[in-house]
């Protein structure tokens, strides 16, 4: 068991580690000197420096604050609206056109508007992240409600469950695995959009740190931040997958293969 896990880890690491080592070798052996590239060893020391001088912690904190608030607001509203249009055909008909017109707007296209309303800072970024995460939550919640096993709805009618307890005891738990998928997708989108905001206009967080490194011609530091953002994305996704499997593994209607 432990050996199999070690082997799996080895396999997963083999490709990226080889690429990094080859890259480092190429960089040193050919004596590169560049304003855009840096060897992994330099990126690593730049990373340690960013940890030591506190920039990494500050920037990560700022990005996370926007990411989590935006996700909470956008996800919460998306969940609530998804429940409404999932349950009510009438609400679905009434909102269909508005949704299909607003949904294709790239969240970055809202930056000028957000900037005019809120100015620089947390609020504009939270607004854009909330907008971006609202849609996956809305769509996935709606389809989760629609796809609740019809037999279970019949069971709740036969047993005479009141609407509120039918929602709490049948619909929500039946939809839970799909809602969890919405959370996982939404979190990934939130990270991308938060960093994009910071790169494009908001002078704070990881995206801004990335831009600052580029503008001050410190490629090693830029690569360090880039790697850190990737690591955050990976960690978020893996933790949510673990949580998902832990919550639903015993359920017959949960397909564990989607979460591997």
């Amino acid at each position: 068991m432990i050996r199999a896990r070690a082997l799996g880890l080895f396999r997963a690491l083999a490709v990226p580690v080889t690429v990094l080592v080859l890259y480092e070798l190429w960089f040193r052996l050919t004596g590169q000197d560049s304003d855009t590239l840096a060897p992994p060893s330099a990126a690593f020391s730049a990373f340690l420096e960013a940890v030591r001088d506190g920039t990494l912690a500050t920037a990560t904190g700022q990005t996370f604050a926007s990411l989590l608030s935006g996700l909470a607001i956008g996800g919460g509203l998306g969940l609530a609206s998804g429940l409404v249009i999932g349950f009510s055909r009438r609400a679905d008909d009434a909102s269909f056109l508005a949704i299909e017109m607003l949904r294709p707007i790239p969240s970055v296209a809202l930056l000028p508007l957000a900037l005019m309303i809120f100015g620089f800072g947390y609020r504009m970024e939270i607004f854009v992240v909330a907008f971006a995460t609202f849609w996956p939550f809305l769509i996935l919640t709606q389809s989760a409600v629609r796809q609740v096993e019809p037999r279970l709805i019949e069971v709740s009618r036969i047993l005479g469950l009141k609407p509120l307890s039918a929602a709490r005891d049948i619909v929500l738990p039946a939809a839970a695995p799909r809602l969890m998928t919405a959370l996982r997708l939404g979190t990934g989108i939130a990270l991308v959009v938060a960093v994009t905001c910071e790169i494009a206009s908001n002078p704070q967080g990881l995206g801004h740190a990335l831009m600052l490194s580029q503008e001050t011609l410190r490629p090693a530091r830029m690569w360090a931040f880039l790697f850190w953002i990737g690591a955050i994305g990976l960690t978020l996704n893996l933790s949510l997958l673990r949580l998902e499997r832990w919550l639903f593994a015993h359920r017959g209607d949960y397909d564990a293969s989607v979460a591997t």
């Binding site: 036969i158 047993l159 039946a174």
Partner: protein, 262 residues
């Protein structure tokens, strides 16, 4: 149309009066009239397409007839009521996969507003009754098909209904499990004195369990035969199936059902 009539004998549990239903422009059931006395075990057989399941849904109040009246205990059925329980064929879909066996039975008690302090004892008694006493904490997927169907029966019993509707409940089970569950069901029926409407496409099963058999013809579904089953109770897997009446009825109904396919 009048609803309840005091003159109607209280002994009639379910009454269908010229019931027809059309779904999507297609007639499914046509002018079905049927009276089921309280405490009777009625077996309904019929080929696929004969609307057996639709008939059950009408009695349960899940669907409404296009014409005619469905009455339970003398009152028109307008919506599902707790006095009518149903056991579905597809146990894998009818059970809550996120609740344990105990939790699934508990759902019925919660719906009835049974206080939490009383639930544990009643759940235990019900699970023991269907032979799942030691599996209370297992999830449906950890149970075999036969056990899942027992669990569904326990949940239906928890409702305390006087009418139990069963839609091909043992259709997906292997022969041995099926026989065991047939005998357990007969014991439960004698114990609860409930009126049971049991749907099956298996003629022998219908005969073995029922006090009476109704055969439905297809397209649209209508009653073509309605015969009492004169077989002594308690039934016995070997003796009953070898009883001359069993053999004769099997013969008679077999010809009727064969005729439908011709």
């Amino acid at each position: 149309m009048t609803t309840a009539t005091a003159t109607r004998p209280a002994a009639v549990s379910i009454e269908l009066d010229d019931v027809s239903i059309t779904l999507g422009g297609r007639p499914i059931l046509e002018k079905i009239s049927l009276a089921v006395p309280a405490g009777e075990f009625l077996s309904i057989i019929g080929a696929s397409g004969s609307g057996k399941t639709t008939l059950l849904r009408l009695i349960a109040g899940l669907w409404q007839p296009t014409a005619g009246a469905v009455r339970v205990a003398g009152s028109l059925v307008a919506a599902p009521s707790r006095d009518v329980a149903i056991v579905f064929q597809d146990y894998g879909r009818a059970l809550l996969p996120w609740r344990t066996a105990a939790g699934n039975v508990s759902l019925a008690l919660e719906a009835m507003g049974v206080p939490k302090s009383e639930r544990a004892d009643r759940i235990h008694a019900l699970l023991t009754k269907v032979g799942l006493g030691s599996h209370a904490e297992k999830y449906p997927t950890q149970l075999s098909g036969g056990m899942q169907q027992r669990l569904q029966i326990a949940r239906a019993l928890a409702q305390g209904a006087s009418i139990l509707l069963m839609d091909e409940p043992f259709g997906a089970l292997d022969a041995l499990t099926r026989q065991a569950l047939q005998d357990e069901l007969l014991l439960l029926a004698a114990d609860t004195k409930a009126t049971i409407v049991f749907i099956t496409h298996d003629l022998e099963e219908a005969l073995y369990l029922g006090d009476r058999i109704v055969a439905l013809g297809s397209n649209p579904g209508r009653v073509i035969t309605d015969v009492p089953v004169a077989l002594p109770r308690p039934r016995h897997q070997l003796a009953t199936r070898e009883h001359p009446n069993f053999v004769a009825l099997r013969r008679q109904l077999f010809d009727v059902i064969e005729g439908l396919h011709a």
